[in-house]
Symmetry: none
Subunit: 218 residues, 4 copies
């Protein structure tokens, strides 16, 4: 029953089967045969659509990352308030989107991180994703904080978000999204509160390297 134009359908079908397989047995034991069986197709089809197993894994991770991106962007685009706090909240909540805190996704993320330490192409994907979160956060903090503080706040919040996700994923229990968001929001507010205690002068003093070259702190 071969058809034309099956490519996008089959690809999605196989990506979802991969997530299912990783959820069931882990990436190490997610054999091509198992994935194909879960997708209800033959073994050989995988190399037809994805060069090899690595190609399928990479495509699966790209898919999860796309979901993450969309989870964040959808929330930001729906905002009435265009202030930094609203955007930061949207970013935080997007990172705990349902697409990121379900079993298959969490197990796949963890397996992906382990693999990314030894596979350059996966590492590249990982770097891009990591930087996107930091960059998004930094951009918003920058609207009310001097550069040095914005960067520190972004680094801290990115780490806190990832850490909350990580500990939630490893717990084995259902992910407590509300609690994670509460803790992350609190951190965000503590960082934003600095805008009232930091003047341009203080900022320059705290970041002597850029004080003269860039008095505005940019």
């Amino acid at each position: 029953m071969p058809k034309v134009g099956m490519q996008p359908i089959r690809r999605q079908q196989l990506i979802e089967a991969t997530l299912q397989a990783v959820d069931q047995v882990g990436l190490g034991d997610a054999s091509i045969a198992l994935i194909a069986r879960l997708a209800g197709v033959s073994n050989g089809i995988i190399s037809h659509y994805f060069r090899d197993k690595n190609g399928l894994i990479a495509a699966t991770m790209s898919y999860i990352m796309k979901m993450l991106s969309e989870g964040v962007n959808a929330r930001r685009e729906a905002l009435q308030d265009d202030g930094p706090r609203a955007h930061l909240q949207a970013i935080i909540e997007g990172n705990f989107d349902a697409s990121q805190v379900n079993g298959p996704a969490m197990k796949t993320w963890l397996a992906f991180w382990a693999s990314s330490m030894h596979q350059p192409d996966l590492h590249r994907l990982q770097r891009i994703n990591d930087h996107r979160l930091y960059s998004n956060l930094c951009c918003q903090f920058r609207r009310v904080l001097p550069l040095y503080h914005a960067r520190k706040a972004a680094r801290g919040l990115a780490a806190l978000v990832d850490g909350l996700w990580l500990r939630g994923a490893l717990s084995g229990d259902a992910f407590d999204t509300e609690q994670a968001i509460r803790i992350a929001n609190e951190y965000m507010d503590l960082q934003l509160a600095k805008q009232h205690t930091l003047g341009a002068i203080d900022q320059a003093a705290e970041n002597p390297r850029t004080a003269l070259a860039n008095p505005a702190g940019a």
Copy 2:
């Protein structure tokens, strides 16, 4: 050259070879043959000292966790100041001990997390370790904060520490220990600062869910 009393020596030798192998090729490709070769022993000896490969992996993780524990405990025992802030700092710094932020350890941790999602024995190890950090932090926060806040602070700080470690490990670059400690300490201080704005009364008020049922906040 069989000798008596070789057991602890051989075990350590094999654990270190395992770390080396995971560093080089990842856990998935760290075969018994490779580990044995790196240790300079025969394949068969691994099942002699560790039942099977899983036994070796578990022993290796236990070893890394022991190093972590010792890194924390050594710093706490060396403290002059017995205050909660000093202890919290020691815990934070212990979590970024050299034994935890080197290549082999970081790669092994990541691989371990991935595996722990599908291997009950590794998951148990993981749960114990996760809980130890939270528990240590909570214990110290509790000395100056009401329980509800202590718990939230501990959850947040544990997540921040793990998140900083995670992002550092995934970066591929050398771990920036100083920066991580600075960010974690700042979070700790922000949490500790709440002791001055929260009275026993406020505390109860802020945590309405437990206020009546548990007036003492425990």
Copy 3:
């Protein structure tokens, strides 16, 4: 863009792609997919024009053999001199025709010989071709030599031609056609020279097995 009368064009296209594929990766690794890609057509078309892969291989060999035949025949038809020496030279030179000493042809011949040992249809092709060379040579030698000697000369010259070709093909360097022709011609002349030292009586004496039964030497 289906057209009529495409058959001979497509067949030639695919045969040439096969030669190219064998040149690049060897017959063993010359997959249908590779050949189709080199020809710029789809996989499926091969079974349309040639029953299966074996059909394509056989057609390709037939093509090379046809080239060989034409290389020999063209030279013989162009001869002014109709003597046996001229014909033998033409046969020799035809066997080292450019169509036979290029990379793709040489690699295909070698692969073909190996396959012919286990595939009856290829073996048949091979026998016909081998016999044609011997037969052509024998026919010419027979014009000046008694049968027994003509046969021996033909066997020797056929072997020498094939051996020169083989060693040239295996050398990996460009084929030294001139040298091969020189050596083969010399052998031919040494054999032809026997016509002056052999009388009909000697011939019979040297081949006692056929002397009585077949006085004419046929």
Copy 4:
């Protein structure tokens, strides 16, 4: 039933199974599984003793070449007469030794040649072997012929020997060793006969390139 010191026994066992497999189905279809079955061992043992299939193929070819070498050397060492003609005959006969004209060996040689066109390590083996025959022949011809003629004679005789072998192998019938030796010996004698018609002066004249630089013809 694992034993120590099995290496040479198992290696030989597997090489012979390989020859048998190639004889039965050809190199292309001589799978690891078939070879292992013919040897009566498990599949995995092959990578234990020979890195991979290529290693086994290379070892098998080396073995056949060693047999060839020994076939030649044994005949040469048994010679009473130390003259060039005797040595040349011994070399010729050695090349048609029983170890080289049986089914398995012939099929393996043909398959090896085809493979050697695309596998550098096999090509190296092939080059060494080809050169050994030429070198042996040239060395003997050189004792009675000037260099230029010795080289040409060696090239021709090497080609004739290989060609006779090739045509015999491809014929599908039992190899006619006697006939091959007779034809090769005749060629040898025709070449050796040149020693009586060529003086040192002629030699120089025929090879003008080396005539002045090396009057002795070396």
